[in-house]
């Protein structure tokens, strides 16, 4: 059997449970309409009207996401290297050290330019 098939079985059980819960929640609870209940929760005060452009967020989060992609791709390269280490020999190690050094230069650059500062 393909090793990925059992995962689908577990996923179907988990997903089925989630769908059942969400569907059941609509029936088991009471339904008492109240306009105030449907407003966004802001500790009791009138909700702030959404800003123009809607759903905007600080640019810092975008920067974190970009840095994540850079470093995550780096670790993706490290994983197959680690698994195949014994059969690759010294050459691969030297290559990987060079690769990590170049990543470190980029990392030092980001640090120096303040890309890792939060405020």
């Amino acid at each position: 059997m393909n090793p990925y098939v059992p995962i689908l079985a577990l996923m179907a059980i988990g997903g089925g449970f989630a769908v059942f819960s969400v569907a059941a929640g609509a029936f088991t609870g009471p339904k008492r309409y109240n306009r105030a209940k449907l407003e966004a929760y802001e500790c009791g005060i009138e909700p702030t009207p959404p800003a123009a452009g809607g759903g905007r967020f600080p640019i810092k989060y975008y920067l974190v996401a970009m840095l994540f992609i850079v470093f995550d791709i780096e670790s993706v390269f490290l994983l197959p290297f680690a698994v195949a280490f014994d059969s690759l020999g010294v050459f691969a190690l030297v290559e990987m050290v060079l690769f990590v050094i170049t990543v470190f230069i980029a990392y030092a650059y980001v640090w120096r330019r303040g890309g890792l500062e939060w405020d």
Binding site: M1, P3, Y4, V5, P6, I7, A9, L10, M11, I13, G14, G15, F17, A18, S21, V22, A24, G25, T28, G29, E39, A40, Y41, E42, C43, I45, E46, P47, T48, P50, G55, F57, Y61, V64, A65, L67, F68, F71, D72, S75, L78, L79, P80, A82, V83, A84, F85, D86, S87, G89, L93, V97, V100, V103, F104, Y107, W111, L116, E117, W118
Partner: protein
Amino acid sequence: MLTPALLAENPTANFSEDTVWVVLVKAVLLFAVAVVATLLMIWAERRVVGRMQSRPGPNRHGPFGLLQSLADGVKLALKEDIIPAAADKVVFVIAPLIACTACFTSFAVIPFGPEVRIPFTDIDTPLQLTDMNVAVLFILAVAGIGVYGIVLAGWSSGSTYPLLGGLRSSAQVISYEIAMGLSLVSVFLYSGSMSTSAIVEAQQSIWWCLPLLPSFVIYVIAMVGETNRAPFDLPEAEGELVGGFHTEYSSLKFALFFLAEYVNMVTVSMLATTLFLGGWRAPWPISLWDDANTGYWPLIWFALKTCLFLFMYIWLRGTLPRLRYDQFMRFGWKILIPAALLWTMAVAVVRAMDQFGSIDRRDRVMILCGVVLVLALIWAAVEALRGTPPQEKPADPEIPVDPFAGGFPVPAMPGQRLIRTNGQAPSPTDATPALEEVRGG
């Protein structure tokens, strides 16, 4: 050249006798284990935190209050299911489904034990649903999909607190996922595989938490950050963000997020056990007994080791205050990531000396390096968290500001001075000296 080397590292567990019904039974059992573990974990957390705070904790429903979580679940089911008017309705409903499905899926590759005979049949099967040569990578990937549930929940609620909570959570999870991924590299180096059963197999003589101590420490820190738990529970910091990404959720949709959080905690704890504590292998004094690692016994050792990590979660929550967000990000990006990267390269170099060179003092070198790095890590953490006191800026001349200009009251920002309006539209001449004296006093 690379491909055959990668494919060669197949799982050591043998699934050849698994028929369809065996797979289905195992999947249902895994699901049950996840749900029951969640119920027990919530109960244990409330009891233990209660003890730590000198109060009994829930003790009314069932023996020792064991049925408390079940009662809470029923209560949630009987609450009204609210979808806010400002929400994006489709995404709002899909988000808890994603979070819940993803958390159960990553259970599939956890090895609970060796091959056993299923009672009343003659089928031998490993106590594991499935395994493949990228199993650990699969868990990381599924954890990444779980983040979608959180960030979509925050975004679709159409409200400020959930949006901020969802953003914080996603930034936090991806920041700590790098450190986590890097700490796993050295485990793969030592095991020569990413398959969970092969990693457990490779720890026959020594558990990886000893030679790879820094990886272990980094993984444990990152796993607490990944699951949004105290002291890294900034996405749901109730003093700042009410409930974070699930502020607008009620009824069973809220329960699904709660469930997902606890199942994720159990999953990362089980992964930590598998990768660093020898998986289902018996701990030392018990391992002298020949039958300790056969049959159904390993389930006990595995559960005990997992409980160790789960207790650590509760202990952390009962002990440590929450970090500030900038401290948290600084810790992740400036300490954990470079430490994990340097340690990984050190492991690779030492391993290469061992494999291709003539140096034969690997373990001593490794343990020495490990101790030095852990000390450096602790020092750096203390240093970073202490930080410098914020510099007081020289007071600017204060600018008078109308607090009702936007139609709703706002507090004064630094460098601003509120004008008394008594709820009326202000005019620039309103600010009388007498009122300013009241404010200043």
